[in-house]
Amino acid sequence: MRKPVEQIEEATILFAGDSGDGSQTIGTQMTETTALIGNDVATLPDYPAEIRAPAGSLAGVSGFQLHFSSEQIHTPGDLCDVLVAMNPAALKVHLQKLKPNGILIVNIDNFARRSLRLAGYEANPLEDGTVAKYQVFPVELTRLTRKALENTDLTTREIDRCKNFFALGMILWLYNRPMDYTMRWVKTKFATKPQYVEANILALRAGNIYCEATEQFAVSYDVKPAVFEPGTYRNIEGNMATVLGLIAASHQAGLPLVYGSYPITPASDILHGLAQYRNFGVITMQMEDEIAAVGVAIGAAFSGALGVTGSSGPGLALKSEAINLAMIAELPLVICNIQRAGPSTGMPTKTEQSDLLQMFYGRNGESPIPIVAPSRPYDCFESVYEACRIAVKYRTPVIFLSDLYIGMGAEPWKIPKLSELPEIKADFAGRDQAHGNGFEPYQRDPETLARPWAKPGTPGLEHRIGGLEKSDITGHVSYDAENHQRMVEIRAEKVARVANDLPPTEVFGAQEGDILLLGWGGTYGAIRTAVEQCVQEGLSIAHVHLRHLNPFPNDLVGILKRFKRVLIPELNTGQLRQLIRSTYLIDAIGFNKVQGQPFHVFELQFKIDEILKELGHF
């Protein structure tokens, strides 16, 4: 007899184990499967910097959190309904994230005394009351996987590497998800190794049948599809959306894409992603260092290509002199900064938003550069496309300021139609722009103040640019005092005019009233969820999320002034707040967290309650 199925609205699952246990793989499989069914999903990979930290150690625990729902969701969830702990270390690191009475699945075969000791447990936590408030399902994952695969030709070591698929089979059963997506994936992934295809599918099925057959699991759950706008969807990670946005911009602008980069977490996936698309004419160059990586992008831009470089905070520090060169030479350039937790090497696999002021100010002299920040994984597509549009239109470097949380998180994306993409016009100078005095490389467009983009190979436009201050109009080297001031002002005004292109700022929730939560970047999901709940309770609270951080939208100041309090939650010590306060003389309140982890929704709600109390609402 089929076991009963309980309908639920949403669930959060956390897969955790050693970094070699394949938690990321099965987390991704569950994400793809549940997205294909039509749930809204959001994910949070949380893994160590070491490729293989000592087995069983706390440092080596790799986790993948996945939240799916029949409603629209914006975060990977605060606490989990299910924790799959492949060893005691995973249990120790992640147990605090499991809801009371949550489902705890542990691989009991890994709970021998040595593993317990490695995780710092004096006694077995499964026996000493540590897990008393949860529904515990001890499973002999290792033994059962070996049993299921005993007739294959694989070595025990190879068999043991399939046990994550046994666990995945269990979770697919528990949430009534089909196995076919994963089967297709396994067949493609191991196309040249049929023995692995067979083994992983055997393990997957065995896990699934195990749950159906044993009495351990009495109920399974189902989460109905969410209601989405009509359209075609796919699941996408932020860095992959960045890859597609860059290719789309290159395609729509008719410019070859040249991407210079140097491997760095968490930006390398953009390099890997773009390198797959040579058939789109995409040129990726892995250079000798961060400076060379931006150097080739600047050279390519001078030659008339869409020059792009990508890195994370430490790389941006190295690139800053070259970015400044592109700024004064007024060449289009897009710089992707996928932020991680700093300073210095910091915590490379953890998220943070602490490079904002570095991007604003981290260059010598007066060096204004537009900054565009995506708010969620799929938004990387539109935001990086927008960065390219600004760079080309205004002939300026533009910083695309993403972060690890967005870059490595995934969610469903409504695939845009090509006809919906904004125009990007390269508009190169032609030989008709050469006249009596020769070509004037700093004769600007009166509306945008952009200077002509005259690429080598165009007869009659031979000219010289460089990092020395240039004379207005002619572009000759100039040390003239008045000219320098004029050029500094023109460059600032050019960037300020980017704001004239921006659409009206969206205010979610109350249009005026008590509290405006102002955010940017990867905090979108947590802020929006917190504000949605307040709005449902009828509170006068709103959310504005900035995509454009430099320049700010022209209508922002008016919006800020319509609220009694402006609360700026950030994963730094108050960088946007500092900019808002100094720009608009508004006494914005900060809510700041620098732990390498995203906000929990409840943290924001506590802060909102505190402000409401102070406003006399309770």
Partner: protein, 348 residues
Amino acid sequence: MKRERTSRIPVGVPTLSKKDFESDQDTRWCPGCGDYSILAQTQRIMPELGIPRENIVFISGIGCSSRFPYYMNTYGFHTIHGRAPTIASGVKMANPDLSVWVITGDGDALSIGGNHFIHAMRRNFDINVLLFNNRIYGLTKGQYSPTSEQGKKTTSTPLGSLETPFNPISLALASGATFVARSLDRDPDHLRLMIKSAFEHKGTSFIEIYQNCNIFNDGTFFQYTEKDTKADNTVFLEHGEPLVFGAERDKGIRLNGFQPEVVETTNGDYATDDLIVHDQYTEDTTLANFLAGMSDTLDMPHPVGIFRSVRHPCYEDAMTHQIDSAKDRGGEGDLEALLNAGETWTVS
């Protein structure tokens, strides 16, 4: 010199003169600087290369030599310290039809830009790198450079430099450069020949040019460049010819074990047949390295000319090939299909 390039001259390119390559900017190097000669020879040889002016790009870093692009009436980019090879690589990659020239100095290329220099050499873009070596920092007023002699007293080393200098030729060879040459600011004919040879070489061409800084390091190379001492202190490399030198052409370089040895060819002990015969086209770098090392050895003449010239695939051609074959295999990229790739679902 083997001419490797045949199709560079587009039909109908008007004949240009030196004047066409002079920009309207006043040249601002110190009077008597070796850079003037290098600029003049470059402007003189450009018309002979047979390429339209608009297809030529000069890219420089920082330093006295790096002002060079401002004086050439071509496309030019005066960039930042040490990074010119990276920007030149990007220019060439985005448009392989351009003739790209990097102008650099000993500090720019070998100190702050050392990393880019070695990697540019091994990547083998079809670009040309002219290194003006004056063994000093001129623009910053006379500090020692990575090619300054050990013990050199300068503003920053009043008691003498402690460092062993780089040999730029050895460094380029060790980095896998496919064309490596040396020339002299005070030998216009040879300099033009080297610049032309560098242009004709398909791949990264590197020329070290001994250049006099008459303000901060006057005469550092005079024994190799001045009329009365040059012949006895330099040996001009000619492919297929023995290494003969000297005012009377009576001296040569012989291999003694693994060491170079200067011998006289007229006193009966040795004949020209005993001398090393230069081979610039050999794939093996032993000879080129051996010749490069001669300038590290006291009392040895410095070789001048082409040390090595071999044909290897160029980065930009290999990249273009990857792109073309990816298009052949998978078809020209279809953006609509790319966005809709993988597992998708439709909500209606």
